[in-house]
Amino acid sequence: MRYSTRIAVGPVQFRVGSDWREPVAALEKLYAGYPQDDTRPADATVRLFAARPWRRWLRPSVHIGGDFVVPDALPLPLSMGLLAAEMGMNLQVALGWRRHMLLHASAVARGGRAVIMSGESGSGKSTLAALLGEGDWRLMGDEFTLLDPASGDALAFPRAVSLKNEAIAEMATRVDAARLGPLLAGTPKGDIRHLIPRPDAIAAMHEPARPALILFPRFGGEAAIEPMGEGEAFVRLTEASTNYIALGEPGFAALTRLVRETPAFGIAYPDSATGMALVEQLWAEAVR
């Protein structure tokens, strides 16, 4: 492909190729602080391409492809090329990675123990993780948390955090502008702006953490904590995993172990400060 780059996030080495310079340049800028190993062959390939040759220049529209392709994925305008690259990277991991169980969850760690937060888009799991990651927590990831079936440990996948809508303003007041990517306005998921994790989080991305707490956040409504049984946590996490079925019995064993050994709670919170306080409160009880 005309333009390409390699990016390593957690255990996955990506090769991203593009028909346009802009998405690759934006990616390289966002991931400049990540460890580079150009002698390592990529595990996964992402392609950003024009469906027809003239669509490179004429109303350029970016199609997302790679090792795995979703047939009816909608293309994005070139101004959102960075989002296309990110979606492509997520897609390849979601469909192709088999070394770990993939949980659609954010995570933060402290002292070698992890809080895993799972929920639908809009539950606030990304924002909570990003906020905690600016405090005395290590951000492990905002989208995927990896679970090692052999050890039961959680592993980080600290890609650039995808801040959405109200979360953008909330974070912009707290972090140095140099750590924020360009504003992508009016995407299919609303306004998006990427946040580069802190250097210590990137440097520690290969350090495993033992799960200490599983949370299912829900943004909005009164502050509330609902203890969750193993069965419900298990079912919710199977739904949050992109490769649970593909892993077969080892996946079942890993998830069973996770919910048996790790307390789980649903939490509702009206604002970020309350959400963070609830996490701290439950954390204090869990690691006692």
Binding site: P41, A42, G96, R98, G248
Partner: protein, 337 residues
């Protein structure tokens, strides 16, 4: 050297994995994934000297393929439990059959749908039993449904509502309207049984079906994998039975598949260094188009040579239907766009 060429050379043993550079590996990995052959390659190179991260990725692939294979065999067992009480016998086809028989090409082989073959006289009952056992129609389009029932070699695809897996119920191995009409009755009546109790095609029929599926019934998508199947099948069958190639000739004649079977053998020789007996080891000028079609992928896994791919696509339809019917079919499909 293109990635797809390197991939084929690795399979054929013409290239030592230890000599690949970083850039070559990622092209090979990408192309192998696109061709659904990454786990197969991982098995082929299990003992090779690999970069550490590639070795890790390959180990993942082998483990994942093992799970997928167990799941595919379980699906076959589910079909058996749905059909056996009614006395409907079926023959496993393609990937599931290779796995059930423990054939060498099944090492790492991706298995998508469960393909089974039943007697044409049993097909209505098989359909009813599967619907009762929790399978449902994938397509609800009346034209497609009618098309399958009138002209195809299988029922419209069914998917199990709980397990989310597809089953293709065949009554023969090429579309009814195809220029070639294999002897479906012989396929079923001469089937053999695996140690696990599943019926599979006998060795010659299995090779015939593999070649027919690759060269007579499609546009060669996934051709590299199908050709690898054919190569492993014929190599192993010939090693176990010195008379295999001769029997294959006779059987291919019975089904009207001599040309595709011979062509598959020549392509296996050209790509995967298969050794052929004297009557098979020829040169055909037309093979070059097939070789070009099989190699039509760039180092990023993108299809190349659009005109050739399109030509093979048109050819596949041309083989499947008489001209008038093809025109009507294309007109209907175009109007529904």
């Amino acid at each position: 050297m293109s990635a797809v060429q390197t991939l084929v050379d690795l399979f054929a043993g013409r290239r030592d994995a230890a000599t690949l550079a970083t850039g070559e590996w990622e092209g090979v990995i990408g192309v192998a994934r696109t061709e659904a052959m990454l786990a197969t390659l991982s098995h082929r190179l299990e003992a090779a000297d690999l970069p550490p991260t590639v070795a890790l990725l390959f180990a993942d692939q082998r483990a994942a393929a093992q799970v997928a294979q167990d799941q595919a065999l379980w699906e076959a067992e589910m079909a058996r439990r749905a059909l056996a009480p009614e006395g409907i016998e079926f023959v496993l086809l393609k990937g599931t059959a290779y796995a059930a028989a423990g054939l060498s090409c099944s090492a790492g082989r991706q298995i998508g749908d469960l393909d089974i073959l039943v007697l044409a006289s049993d097909i209505r009952r098989a359909e009813n039993e599967l619907l009762e056992a929790g399978w449902e129609w994938v397509k609800s389009d009346p034209y497609d449904d009618h098309y399958y029932r009138e002209h195809m070699h299988e029922l419209p695809p069914l998917i199990h509502k709980a397990r989310d897996r597809m089953i293709d119920v065949h009554h023969t191995i090429l579309p009814r309207t195809h220029r070639i009409t294999p002897d479906a009755l012989s396929l079923v009546s001469d089937a053999v049984t695996t140690a696990g109790g599943f019926a599979i095609l006998n060795p010659e029929d299995m090779a015939c079906h593999c070649a027919a599926h690759m060269l007579a019934d499609g546009d060669l998508q996934g051709g590299l994998r199908n050709l690898w199947d054919f190569h492993c099948l014929t190599r192993d069958f010939a090693a176990a039975d010195a008379g295999f190639w001769g029997k294959l000739d006779a059987r291919a004649d019975l089904h009207g598949l001599r040309a595709p079977v011979h062509r598959a053998a020549r392509l296996a020789r050209d790509l995967y260094a298969a050794e052929l007996p004297s009557g098979w080891d020829r040169q055909e000028s037309g093979d070059i188009w097939y070789r070009r079609r099989l190699f039509a992928r760039d180092d990023w896994g993108r299809p190349t040579n659009f005109a050739l791919q399109q030509a093979f696509y048109i050819r596949s339809h041309w083989l499947r239907m008489p001209p008038q019917m093809l025109a009507r079919h294309l007109w209907t499909k175009w109007r529904k766009r």
